[in-house]
Symmetry: C2
Subunit: 131 residues, 2 copies
DNA sequence: CAAGTGTATCACATGTTATGATACACCCAT
DNA sequence: ATGGGTGTATCATAACATGTGATACACTTG
């Protein structure tokens, strides 16, 4: 609902999903789209927690997931940094996309939609978005 | 994991999602694909609960969601029936598909994928599936 | 050493999911 | 009318996920 800023980053947090998931997704998106540079330092746990009006524990949860997935590297005492490996980032992007595609097609298949129909629905939706 | 049968119906329940959600989805899929006829009576709460090795409350939860969405009509003392309205079914199918498409495109957009790339990924995935 | 990092661990609260049990309300065939 | 099969409501209980708030510890840098 509301947009919070911290440094050059912008965050929107709502109640539709766990907060730590939203934090992860927004970092993923920012990195993958090149809005955050490789190797860049991201806000400290405490700093981001304060900016988002959230407990450090919640941010910590997000940061640990990000490290597990290879999106970030954390250095105790120094901070948390976006991975400097372009390959890591591309792999993560591909993997997330592959999962999304697979789940989507599974869902559409359960609803009995064929490839043709799926393409048509996507085109219709994209047409709507571009208004 | 395991497949459970009750009458002519088949159910697979795993631990990836809430049980009641899986029940709803599998009825949705069966109805939308015509594997269950319109107006057909589905198993009683107690019967399905026993077949799935689950509490009646859990099945009840699923059945109430199914009625809320218009998929079924429940008649106290008689049982639960798939809606006899073809229009209802088609509306539900369209609505579920529209939601799936919208969420998918949102996710892909967050990952920075364009329409062209999305189509290509879908085609690749469908090619794999048809092996 | 001090300040700023990440990390770990409590206690606590809330909401969701699920179990298990009991009771009630309703419909239909006998 | 009664009995058996329906859906429905409610309660207690438990496990888990999510989030808050607080405290303490470990590490790095200046």
């Amino acid at each position: 609902m509301e947009e919070r800023r911290v440094g050059s980053l912008r965050f929107r947090i709502d109640f539709s999903q766990p907060i730590y998931e939203q934090i992860v997704q927004q970092f993923q998106s920012s990195v993958v789209k090149g809005e955050i540079e490789r190797g860049a330092k991201i806000p400290s746990v405490r700093e981001l927690a304060q900016a988002l009006h959230v407990t450090p524990n919640t941010v910590m949860h997000a940061y640990q997931e990000m490290e597990r997935s290879g999106l970030t590297e954390t250095r105790r005492g120094q901070g948390t940094f976006i991975t400097s490996s372009q390959e890591q980032i591309e792999q993560l992007r591909s993997k997330l996309a592959a999962v999304a595609v697979r789940e989507f097609l599974q869902k559409m298949n359960d609803l009995g939609y064929s490839g043709q129909e799926i393409f048509r629905l996507i085109q219709d939706e994209e047409r709507d978005e571009s208004l």
